[in-house]
């Protein structure tokens, strides 16, 4: 939903009878200096001298300029003028307390160093971001859970970071960005899946990042509206890749949560692969289950953005095809397209299903 003016009164959705769990909150540093205590002298120097080197050309900001500063709600800057979601107390005031959120999943975005062109730097940053989440967020507000941020372009180092955090209940998932430098099912990433499965952690894949490749398979688009729309296609590609490479054949307990990826496209992707599978079985004999079955079993999705079809029953069709047990509420706080939980899940969805989306489904996939 596009928030023009957030609702002024506090309140929690009545249907959230199995808890209100927000699987997408974006904590942010006040400045990158916040990471200093967790970095070696060499990496501190690198961070402050050369900075992050994402797979795009600009030192500051993003190649497709956001629709609003820091892609954030205008009212999300802290009273002291701090950046949006940089202060746990104000985040609680504006979101967790305000909407009655019981559990919030932290998904740190840039400058986290994920997808950096320099792997050792990305490894050091991921460690720093994880320590920072624990010290500055989870220790301050017990409702928050951290994500294991991993330097995913170095799968072995990612697996090591996951193993270091395994069993620590403050972490609830492994976090990847959706735009990896290779399609995500590529065996290059399999050590990540192996470690996540071993640690019994779901893998949250948040839309975003820079793969280094054009954002469409027909070249670079012109506009931010296209970049946003292309999140869906990049996530489709990663699902195609994970299924076709046989990730879910090899890692039978893997749980994937697609966050801010949209979800309306998922049934069609599954059907497309189902349609293709019989005619190309000779190429992919390692696939023993129908692609749609694999997707139904292994993939969860978050709301925000919720597709808005012209007619309510069309959204119901779509959610039913994905599976009512697979959809998780997400707010995307503090971003401009933030979803107030009271309005995000349309009231024409039966109440029991809304309760599952608000909390029950997240409890099951994350084991809260």
């Amino acid at each position: 939903m596009n928030v023009i003016r957030p609702e002024a009164a506090a309140g929690r959705p009545l249907a959230a009878t199995q808890g209100l769990i927000d699987v997408d909150i974006h904590p942010r540093v006040r400045s990158v200096k916040d990471f200093d205590p967790y970095l070696s002298a060499e990496m501190r120097h690198r961070l402050h001298t050369y900075g992050n080197r994402p797979r795009h050309g600009f030192v500051k900001g993003t190649p497709y300029f956001k629709s609003q500063p820091l892609a954030s709600r205008r009212d999300a800057w802290t009273p002291e003028g701090g950046t949006p979601a940089s202060d746990p107390a104000f985040t609680a005031t504006q979101h967790l307390d305000f909407h009655g959120v019981d559990i919030g999943v932290l998904n740190p975005l840039q400058p986290s160093g994920q997808g950096d062109m320099n792997n050792p730097f990305s490894v050091a940053m991921a460690h720093a971001v994880n320590e920072w989440q624990l010290d500055q967020w989870v220790a301050v507000d017990g409702r928050l859970r951290a994500s294991v941020v991993v330097p995913y372009e170095d799968a072995e180092a990612s697996a090591a970071e996951i193993r270091k955090r395994a069993g620590d209940p403050r972490f609830c998932q492994v976090l990847l960005m959706s735009r990896t430098s290779h399609p995500l099912g590529n065996p290059k990433y399999w050590p990540i899946f192996e470690a996540a499965q071993e640690a019994n952690l779901p893998i949250g894949i948040h839309a975003f990042g820079y793969s280094g490749w054009p954002m469409t398979n027909g070249g670079w688009p012109s506009f931010y509206i296209e970049e946003v729309s292309e999140h869906a296609t990049s996530c489709q590609s990663l699902v195609n890749s994970m299924v076709i490479e046989g990730v879910f054949e090899r890692f039978r307990k893997l749980r994937i949560v697609l966050i801010e990826c949209g979800f309306g496209w998922l049934p069609s992707v599954a059907w497309r692969l189902d349609k293709l599978w019989p005619t190309l079985r000779d190429e992919v004999p390692h696939l023993t289950r129908a692609p749609s079955e694999q997707i139904r079993e292994h993939i969860w999705v978050s709301t925000q953005p919720v597709e808005e079809p012209p007619r309510p029953e069309q959204l119901l069709d779509c959610m039913g095809w994905i599976g009512w047990d697979k959809i998780l509420y997400a707010s995307d706080y503090p971003h401009w397209d933030f979803d107030d939980p009271r309005h995000a899940i349309p009231s024409y969805i039966p109440e029991a299903k809304r309760a599952a989306i608000y909390g029950g489904n997240a409890r099951r996939v994350y084991g809260f």
Binding site: N2, S67, R179, T180, S181, H182, P183, L184, G185, N186, S211, W213, P214, M215, T216, N217, G218, G219, W220, P221, S222, F223, I225, E226, V228, S229, E230, T233, S234, Q236, S237, N240, S241, I244, E245, G264, W265, P267, S268, V269, W271, R272, L273, D274, K275, L276, W277, T279, L280, D282, E283, V284, P305, E307, E308, P310, R311, Q314, D317, C318
Partner: protein, 358 residues
């Protein structure tokens, strides 16, 4: 399976060029000589590996091992006659669009279009064809449209869905202007010119991923055409998506229309919701029909498409999309079947002569 209704149009037929030698009679000497001089081996593309089961349905491969799908006799015997096709639109996918040298690409494209005209259009009055466009230079593409538009048997122009740059980009607008001038729809067909990886995450390991990636490409291409303002500038431009799949379209439009509401300041020339634009200007062929084979789901999908005028029947010959006789998705009633098989194509392709309708 029910037979196709009388007057059925097949909008997606793919004659396969048997080899570069077949184009020699139609090539300028400059290019013709280079075939042997440089040892050029042929333009079959990775998008359709010639021996892959997907590329040619097994019962359409000649038993004697000769080349499949390259003559009008094969097309007649395998599709036109047994299925009672009234009109068919042929679109060869020989990879002239992949050639890096833009002059050479234009030269071979001209030859390919002339080959199609001589070997198919001149041989069977039921056939119409696509003008294959050399897209690496808009002037070349416009010149090819101008060269062939006076022949009414060319009923549309065709580009591959995965080009070098997104299709809506302004440097392509002279092409759209020429198409509108001649009332030629723009057909966008599955396949890549191999300038970019088939996913926005890089190159894929398996052919199955390559083929699946077309579904993403059609979304990106439509998004580009819409957001760049092509349909605002050329409101009468018709776009036909071929071998695109179908079921991805509604959810794609729900998302794009929602995002447009949020950030339309960025593209102020987009003055209507993408849902409306597509309903008015875009059509798509039915194969591959990417949905479960149950009537209830198909019925819901038709509801999501929101119009009975969107779909055009196609066999996708000789690609393997289905076995046996012609197929329509389950649960399609006779009225919708007639729209899909006959009327929608007639409304889209004004150049298909009405008098041939039985």
């Amino acid at each position: 399976m029910t037979a196709l209704p009388l007057g059925a149009v097949d909008v997606d037929l793919h004659p396969m060029v048997p080899g570069l030698a077949a184009l020699e009679p139609f090539l300028d000497p400059l290019w013709r000589d280079q075939i042997s001089q440089r040892g050029m081996e042929g333009f079959e593309t990775q998008s359709y590996p010639p021996n892959a089961p997907k590329t040619v349905r097994d019962d359409w491969r000649p038993a004697d091992g000769s080349k499949p799908a390259c003559t009008v006799e094969q097309l007649r015997a395998q599709v036109l006659e047994p299925w009672g096709i009234s009109r068919g639109i042929v679109t060869p996918l020989y990879g002239v669009q992949l050639v890096f040298n833009e002059d050479m690409a234009a030269g071979f494209t001209r030859a390919l279009n002339d080959w199609t005209r001589a070997k198919f259009l001149d041989e069977d009055a039921r056939l119409a064809a696509s003008i294959i466009l050399p897209m690496f230079n808009a002037e070349h593409a416009v010149a090819e449209i101008e060269r062939l538009a006076s022949d009414p048997r060319f009923v549309q122009a065709m580009v591959l869905v995965m080009g070098e740059t997104p299709l809506g980009r302004r440097h392509n607008w002279p092409i759209f202007e020429a198409l509108v001038k001649h009332d030629l729809p723009l057909a966008i067909h599955a396949g890549s010119c191999w300038r970019n990886p088939v996913t926005s995450l890089g190159w894929a390991s398996w052919y199955m991923e390559d083929y699946a990636a077309n579904q993403q490409a059609f979304q990106s291409t439509l998004a580009s055409l819409i957001t760049e303002g092509v349909f605002s500038k050329f409101p009468t431009l018709k776009v036909v998506l071929l071998e695109s799949g179908v079921s991805w379209l509604p959810a794609f439009l729900w998302r794009l229309s929602k995002t447009w509401k949020g950030v339309r300041f960025e593209v102020p020339w987009v003055d209507r919701s993408p849902i409306e634009i597509v309903r008015e200007n875009v059509r798509m062929s039915v194969q591959p029909f990417d949905a479960p084979e149950d009537a209830e789901t198909v019925d819901r999908l038709m509801n999501h498409l929101g119009s009975d005028e969107m779909l055009l029947w196609s066999s996708d010959w000789p690609h393997w999309q289905f076995d046996g006789p012609p197929r329509l998705p389950p649960g399609i009633g006779p009225d919708l079947m007639r729209k899909i098989c006959v009327e929608n194509a007639r409304a889209t392709y004004m150049r298909l002569a009405w008098e041939t309708v039985p």
